[in-house]
Symmetry: C2
Subunit: 455 residues, 2 copies
């Protein structure tokens, strides 16, 4: 089934991929709500006059904006942007809602479609002109509270990436050139795809400072009776995560889904021989019921117009974590064979051991994260010269190096390496650059930076 539509860069999210997204939404939404975030829905269409209010923001997004100019049979008086992100429309509303310190903190999230008219080559999940995401937007009394919010969201995002997606990442503060248009600073999670030698951004958290609160007039009467300007954060993860999970864990035979994010965690394939259908089908269905009652997401593939071999390939391609095979032999021996999608490891299990299936899945989840983390860590090489840097990038590594902080040297890195970028400095962890020289200009270095090609 093809997902490409006649609109370039706007693909269908097919049922299987969308079901992965549903798992991500459910997991993330629960964590957001526990943190006090409320969901809402803001209009897709943003008047141009609102979009231009924060100058850097507008400049950053305008090359990628799609515009509605006609409706019914009339030309509109003002162009309406399809939201590339919703800071401007939300903050226009926030400025009217917030009156006093009692209204703070305000934490609003929405799960929506957004539009960025990419001119680069698009690819399903990783770069498309329309994608799905959540965007969280918070308002606080002080900069300290906004900084704390950034830390809290980092904690939540880490859990989503690691616990659910088995995705390790580098937590990096982006450079001034690379931060979100309008932010004070941007923190981003980069995971790594070894085969491509590229990093992939999983999500971002922005401390917006008062950069939006000022032009949008988001002020509040504080408890000391003074009118003050608020502090803000915004943060998002998107359907890119589906692509990340597939790219990080996949193999030659297709996707390999971490059990917690898999729409179907166990598929049961009865292996049928003429005349022995009944006991095998019964056993398969019985195993299915037992596993469902343990809370697992299970499918019994008892279709009779496909062969067992066809089914094996079909479910391997989709990345279902565990396949259970039941043939006449298994039934005679009072059990079944479980096959892990990631390692191919086969285990014959007696029926009274069926309670151990969840453990197999949990172990698989853990091991997938560990393997991916090892690959990420092994990909990092420290380099001190231009030649070492070029070599590291050519060898599909992430270069750890030293930088003076000059944007000219940042640009030079791209030219030197054929497109690799300074992805930023470690956030939360402190890495000193004392005694080191900038890998480009050789002057005193102030930052330990990570350099890689990206999607």
């Amino acid at each position: 089934m093809d997902q490409r539509t006649p609109v370039r860069g706007c693909d269908v999210f097919m049922p299987w991929g969308y079901a992965i997204w549903e798992q991500i939404m459910r997991y993330a939404d629960t964590l957001f709500k526990e943190h006090g975030v409320k969901n809402a829905y803001f209009p897709t269409l943003i008047p141009e006059s609102l979009l231009v209010k924060e100058a850097e923001h507008f400049e950053g997004f305008t090359p990628e904006v799609a515009w509605v100019t006609e409706a019914g049979n009339e030309k509109l008086a003002e162009r309406l942007a399809l939201r590339p992100t919703s800071e401007t429309i939300m903050y226009y509303m926030f400025s009217q809602w917030i009156r006093s310190y009692r209204d703070l903190p305000l934490r609003i999230n929405q799960w929506v479609n957004v539009f960025r008219w990419e001119t680069k080559a698009t690819r399903p999940f990783l770069r498309s002109r329309e994608f799905l995401w959540q965007e969280g937007h918070t308002v606080h009394r002080t900069l300290d509270e906004a900084n704390q919010e950034v830390l809290d969201i980092i904690e939540i995002y880490s859990r989503i990436f690691e616990e659910l997606g088995a995705l390790p990442s580098l937590l990096l503060r982006r450079t001034e050139q690379d931060k979100f248009a309008g932010a004070l600073y941007t923190v981003a999670f980069d995971t790594f795809i070894p085969e491509a030698g590229r990093v992939l951004q999983l999500g971002t958290v922005h401390n917006l400072g008062q950069n939006f609160a000022k032009p949008f007039g988001i002020t509040f009467l504080d408890s000391d009776g003074k009118e003050k300007t608020a502090w803000q954060t915004s943060w998002g993860i998107s359907t890119r995560l589906i692509g990340a999970i597939i790219a990080v864990h996949g193999d030659d035979r297709g996707a390999v889904l971490p059990p917690r994010v898999a729409p179907t965690q166990v598929v049961i394939v009865p292996i049928i021989f003429k005349g022995k259908e009944e006991p095998v089908l019964n056993a398969a269905r019985d195993i299915g019921e037992k596993l469902k009652s343990m809370g697992l997401r299970v499918e019994v593939d008892d279709r009779d117009d496909y062969t067992a071999g066809w089914k094996f390939n079909h479910w391997e391609l989709k990345g279902v974590p565990l396949r259970i095979e039941v043939g006449p032999q298994d039934v005679e021996n009072g059990g079944f064979t479980a096959v892990r999608r990631d390692t191919g490891e086969k285990t014959f299990m007696k029926m009274d051991e069926i309670g151990k299936v969840p453990e197999i899945l949990e172990r698989m989840q853990r091991e997938m994260l560990e393997r991916a983390r090892k690959r990420l860590e092994e990909a990092i090489v420290t380099v001190r010269t231009k030649d070492e840097l070029k070599e590291a990038i050519e060898e599909k590594k992430i270069a750890r190096s030293f930088w003076c902080g000059d944007p000219k040297c940042e640009d030079a890195v791209k030219e030197l390496t054929g497109g690799a970028e300074i992805r930023g400095t470690k956030f939360l962890e402190i890495e000193g650059a004392e005694g080191e020289k900038c890998v480009v200009c050789g002057k005193e270095a102030h930052h330990v930076v990570y350099i890689a090609k990206s999607y």
Copy 2:
């Protein structure tokens, strides 16, 4: 907090209203999935060339379509419509996916935003230029199967409206003039708002016949080796449901939410007197924990900067079904006072009776549906003359009458009544019009119809 934005007809769905929508989505989505429906996501933007493929459909929607004509800094070669509904883009894809009878039935749903550039006056939830909905689209081998699907979806929708929203409705087959643009026939659910004397459409189910399958080329190789054209249905419910729930059940003091759809089912308000804060607050929190452990959605409003009276009004306005008051007196008596939002009924309950709270909510849910159903039934009056018809509509009733079937008489009904419409004939129930005359022309009647003003 105001929900109006600078884009007319595009309002914010505020957290409380959106939380009602989340309850609806969760309930409906579970029923859809049990029925074998799979969720997916199709692009928002539909090329004009696709939208025009089914002529009636295009004609029906084009006066309300918003168009993207520019992106980045370029004019697009072809205008892209913001989906008013997704038949065209979905069926273009279905025609590529479906090859054989093995691929059928195909049942796809999406939860998305849609756009209809209304020229009529807009109102929050009931008529807006952007709203949220689900659209289900199915493909079948035969007309019989498509008819059965219509019945199955009617069953599911009835459960959503009645069990969740406590909304009674008339199930009507729309007239030829009024059916969905491109459908064979349309079945719709109309609920009734007594104060306004207007009906409100809750949802629609369309049997599309082969009207789309033919122009889009949705064919399949059947088991008899013949290539055949498929049969289709589509169906949707939207954020209008939020408006229906508020309008049907609300009173002078605000919304009254049926317990099953209420984001918060019980709010606990401690009534605090100086020096007696501690035992009252402890009791309130204890009650909160106990109710949560029973699976109820509970809020303890222990804010100290608002009075109890302010909180009563606040939660009544939002429509929380049950308020629990705990004051020093209640604590001394070892219990609390429960107040139903719909009837104002107050009950003092001992702590060991707390297990009965869910029953109160279930009874309230049931009674709300019964009351609303009674109001709907009492609103229906059978009329046989033009004068009776005019009078019924003036008195804010639903007129049950007789119609010859001529579209001219249908149009005349609107003129006669100042805007009331023939909403259709009963679906599933058979009502004979034998011996009756058309209320407009006096010729032989063929249909028993329901006539009302609508939103």
